[in-house]
């Protein structure tokens, strides 16, 4: 199983991630009464980027982006996609750290490019990350405390037995908080100030072109996938769907349907996440921080207190 997951789950993640990327562009466009690009547009972009020539600012410029992409793929291995999960070592904590490495690699690369716009973009990126990490950490800690484990797989398995976390009253507040910060995690509207194309030439990726840009797009797609999948895994029970798969237990089909259910849940979450926040105009970074440190943090904090007290 693990061996299969090792090969399959990156593939699923890549494809789904590209799909969500395209989908989100489409949804945003529709919300704004635009037609928008086709859903497969990111795939086209990647392929085209590979064929284009690029510039490099040195070995380290290349190293950063490769580090970013490969660590994003490693991250996928730690994520239960349906019933597939290649690596479990270290649990959610290791997962959190690996989540950090993708942006970190991009930041290194962007900084090596020595473009002031990249620097500004990275600074914003990290501040935004700090802003949403505060509620995110609280949310994850709540979940881990509630289930008394640090393993993602185990969290999903417990939910299979005892119902979705989002359904249990103790974890509903963290769930809401996660939804509120989801756009920030995904870097989508209204939190797109990091890569503001008009203002700082797309920020960190200002100097990226050709294969660098392609790598970045792939990484971004994975990042979007992870952000949503994490929610599904810890709040929506991953592959579980009200005992639907129980009859199939132990067969290959359970795995396949598990993945499908998982992806459907993800799509749903993407919609919700986008709709919840799409009405806001773009936040300035301070506004974003103030917002994220106010409501989502407060909600998740209350959630954590509830969980600790009811423990």
């Amino acid at each position: 199983m693990n061996i299969i997951a090792l090969f399959v789950s990156p593939l699923i993640a890549l494809i789904a991630g590209m799909f969500f990327l395209g989908l989100s562009r489409k949804i945003s466009a529709r919300i704004q009464w635009r037609y928008g690009p086709p859903i497969y547009q990111p795939v086209i972009d990647v392929i085209r980027s590979f064929s284009q020539k690029s510039i490099t600012h040195g070995k380290f410029f290349d190293f950063g982006i490769i580090l970013s992409l490969s660590s994003s793929f490693v991250l996928i291995l730690f994520l239960p996609i349906g019933k597939l999960c290649a690596l479990t070592s270290g649990g959610l904590i290791a997962f959190l750290y690996l989540m950090l490495m993708g942006p970190f690699g991009i930041a290194l690369s962007g900084a090596a490019a020595a473009n002031p716009n990249s620097s500004i973009g990275i600074s914003r990126k990290f501040l935004l990350a700090l802003a949403y990490e505060v509620p995110l950490l609280l949310v994850l800690l709540t979940v881990m405390t509630h289930y008394h484990t640090i393993s993602l797989v185990e969290i999903v398995n417990i939910q299979a037995n005892s119902g979705w976390a989002f359904g249990s009253w103790a974890l509903i507040l963290p769930g809401i908080a996660y939804l509120l910060i989801l756009p920030a995690i995904l870097g989508m509207r209204p939190f797109e100030v990091v890569g503001a194309a008009q203002e700082i030439s797309s920020g960190p990726i200002a100097e990226f072109g050709g294969k660098h840009l392609a790598f970045y797009t792939l990484q971004h797609a994975l990042h979007v996938f992870v952000g949503i999948a994490l929610f599904v895994d810890i709040f929506l029970g991953g592959w579980t769907f009200f005992g639907l798969l129980n009859p199939l237990a132990g067969t290959v089909w359970a795995v396949i349907f598990g993945i499908i259910i998982f992806l459907l849940k993800m799509t749903l979450v993407l919609f919700i996440g986008l709709f919840v926040n799409a009405v806001y105009p773009r936040f300035r970074i301070e506004q974003a921080m103030q917002y994220l440190w106010k409501w989502p943090t407060l909600i998740s904090f209350v959630g954590l207190i509830i969980v600790v007290l009811t423990k």
């Binding site: 590979f50 064929s51 020539k53 690029s54 510039i55 490099t56 040195g58 380290f60 290349d62 992409l69 490969s70 660590s71 793929f73 490693v74 291995l77 479990t88 070592s89 270290g90 649990g91 290791a94 750290y97 950090l100 490495m101 970190f104 930041a107 290194l108 900084a111 090596a112 020595a114 473009n115 002031p116 620097s119 990275i122 600074s123 990290f126 501040l127 700090l130 990490e133 950490l137 800690l141 881990m144 405390t145 008394h148 484990t149 640090i150 393993s151 030439s201 200002a206 100097e207 050709g210 294969k211 392609a214 300035r284 970074i285 301070e286 921080m289 954590l304 969980v307 600790v308 423990k311």
Partner: protein, 618 residues
């Protein structure tokens, strides 16, 4: 190899170095390196040795004892190795500095005294070595003159307060039990009252808290780190400050005993919970203050405080995982903070003493070794997987989460994210971005400076991938302290609530890295471009504005600056001023007018007679 001989070599080596410096500086360098490496060799031969010897009885008839066990060995080997690396590094760093004999002498003296501290089998030896360490550190902190003087005074005053507390504690033990032998004291202490144990714990915690810079007592540290010579900053932050951790281990788990310590008080008001929370505060606030720093060494110094918090949280939490994590983090912290200080030192060396984060940049092409040292250092500091920092932090987080202390865990994790921001700023402003014109031609860092950086970088990765190597020793330490043994493998930790396997993470990253490196190579070749050949959206950016460094996290600063002040430092300064003015007014009683002096005499007699006649109290 007896322990006395080891210490004799250590101490006399220091003197020998000083004396040989009077003959020639080459000889001195040779002797210093030889002594420090020799100590490394001797200590490593002492692995797994358990001895205890009485070496002296002339101090008030107290048996002064040296003993070797796994705890002592662990710290001893760390001390001697890091000092040896810093000594090697100093060979070129300190080449043209004044009083270099003195510098080496003090370095080796501090080394020897730290070694004595960890080998001490009784509290008097411990205290004596502790004090020697304190004053020699003071003498070396002040070495850089100017700003260093204030730092030195701050350090020594706090340090004196700490050691006076410890002296009271030790003597209280001595008078109560008539022995200062650590093992005996532990036995005697078991039946004594809870209040007394608590008193001991608190009074020693002040001492070790000052040394380890726990939050309200940290104020000496930033200045001291920033103003010392860089190799010494490295030793200071890497090992010397962590003598506080050693002290905590000693008092909490050896002297008072694990079981007792963990059951002092109830609920939130128990000793170790409060210590944990102090540790948590120490993690968060300094890390965020670090973000505001513009001095590379000061930034690292604030992180030094913050990382100290992890150790305290880990040790004070009182689980096997926590204690192991805390101890392991001490070692890991030493590796990467030493590495970082040495990298900054290399920059200082090359740019004639610059360490201002706003005036440097783009040095990664000029000083690749220092850059990779810095990169791995900050990775370790953050705890990026595959570096050793990850493993120890993982152990701490895990035990905090599973031990139902999510708020502590939150503080610890938040600290990590703060760390990411500030160390990225550090890396970016020093090494990445544009290279300023004036640093186009810089001195090359010599080999002796690069070797320690390379060794430390290698160590970070080694312990990151194979954490089992040090954890094996740590496991025996915590078992000796009475904790349950951990299930240690060469690649990590196995336990029923989740395993850590660094090897498969390493393999995964390596495989994916190789794949994408391959893809990258196969794809169309990219064109190398010049530094200034940048896309600036058509705007004409002046050359000196190309590097965005000043106020790197400007929005955050705007928000956080009013809150992120070192209020404790201000508070202490206020106290110091108040004491100063009180002192000034006290001496005004010596008016200089002899009539009033005679008046004092008459007053003295008169008041005594008055008291006696009225109340007859004598």
């Amino acid at each position: 190899m007896s322990l006395e001989l080891l210490l004799i070599i250590a101490f006399s080596g220091a003197f020998l170095t000083y004396l040989s410096g009077k003959i020639s500086s080459q000889l001195r360098d040779g002797v210093a390196v030889l002594i420090s490496l020799g100590l490394v060799a001797i200590v490593s031969f002492l692995y797994n040795v358990q001895t205890e010897t009485v070496f002296y009885q002339g101090f008030f008839g107290i048996s002064l004892i040296l003993r070797m066990n796994s705890l002592a060995w662990f710290f001893a080997i760390a001390i001697v190795s890091f000092t040896a690396l810093c000594i090697i590094y100093s060979l070129s760093y300190m080449k043209d500095c004044e009083r270099s004999n003195y510098y080496y002498f003090m370095m080796l003296l501090i080394n020897a005294s730290m070694l004595t501290i960890v080998l001490a089998g009784d509290l008097v030896t411990f205290f004596v070595a502790w004090e020697i360490m304190s004053w020699s550190t003071f003498l070396l902190i002040s070495y850089n003159r100017n700003g260093a003087l204030q730092a030195g005074i701050k350090y020594i005053v706090l340090s004196l307060i700490g050691s006076m507390c410890m002296l009271v504690g030790i003597l209280s033990i001595y008078t109560s039990f008539g022995t200062v032998n650590i093992a005996d004291v532990a036995n005697h202490l078991t039946p004594s009252s809870v209040g007394y144990k608590l008193f001991l714990l608190i009074i020693f915690s002040i001492t070790f808290g000052i040394k380890n810079a726990i939050m309200p007592l940290h104020t000496w540290l930033p200045d001291a780190y920033a103003e010392s010579p860089s190799p010494f900053s490295a030793v200071l932050s890497g090992m010397l400050t962590r003598m506080g951790v050693f002290g905590f281990l000693l008092i909490m788990y050896v002297i008072v005993g694990m079981k007792t310590t963990l059951h002092l008080g109830r609920g939130f008001l128990s000793f170790n919970t409060i210590l944990c929370w102090l540790g948590a505060i120490t993690i968060v606030i300094p890390t965020f203050i670090a973000m505001l720093q513009n001095d590379a060494k000061k930034l690292l110094a604030w992180h030094g405080i913050g990382q100290g918090g992890y150790m305290i949280v880990g040790i004070a939490f009182g689980t096997s995982l926590g204690a192991a994590g805390g101890i392991f983090h001490t070692l890991n912290h030493a590796t990467y903070i030493v590495l970082l200080f040495l990298s900054v030192g290399a920059i200082e060396y090359s740019t004639n003493g610059l360490r201002d984060l706003n005036s440097l940049g783009g040095l990664f092409k000029k000083m690749p070794i220092a850059f990779f040292g810095g990169l791995l250092g900050i990775s370790g500091l953050i705890g990026v997987p595959l570096t050793n920092g990850f493993v120890s932090k993982w152990l701490i987080y895990k035990t905090l989460i599973l031990g139902n202390a999510p708020f502590l865990a939150f503080a610890a994790l938040l600290g990590t994210w703060g760390t990411v921001l500030s160390v990225y700023k550090f890396l970016h402003n020093l090494f990445l971005g544009q290279l300023p014109e004036e640093h186009k031609e810089i001195k090359k860092a010599p080999l002796t400076m690069q070797i320690p950086i390379v060794i430390l970088s290698f160590t970070i990765i080694l312990f990151g991938i194979l954490p089992g190597l040090p954890l094996k020793v740590i496991n025996s330490i915590i078992v000796a302290a009475g904790f349950q043994a951990l299930d240690i493998n060469i690649w990590g930790v196995t336990s029923e609530t989740g395993t850590l396997n660094m090897l498969n993470i390493f393999a995964a990253i390596a495989v994916f890295g190789a794949i994408f490196w391959g893809i990258f190579k196969v794809a169309r070749k990219s064109t190398p471009v010049d530094q200034y050949d940048n896309y600036a959206a058509g705007a004409a950016v002046p050359k000196n504005k190309y590097h965005y460094t000043v106020e790197y996290y400007a929005p955050f600063y705007r928000m956080g600056k009013p809150f992120l002040k070192d209020i404790f430092d201000m508070f202490y300064n206020r106290i110091a001023e108040a004491i100063g003015s009180i002192c000034d007014s006290v001496r005004k009683i010596y008016t200089g007018y002899v009539g009033s002096y005679v008046m004092y005499i008459v007053l003295f007699i008169a008041s005594l007679i008055f008291v006696q006649l009225t109340w007859s109290i004598f």
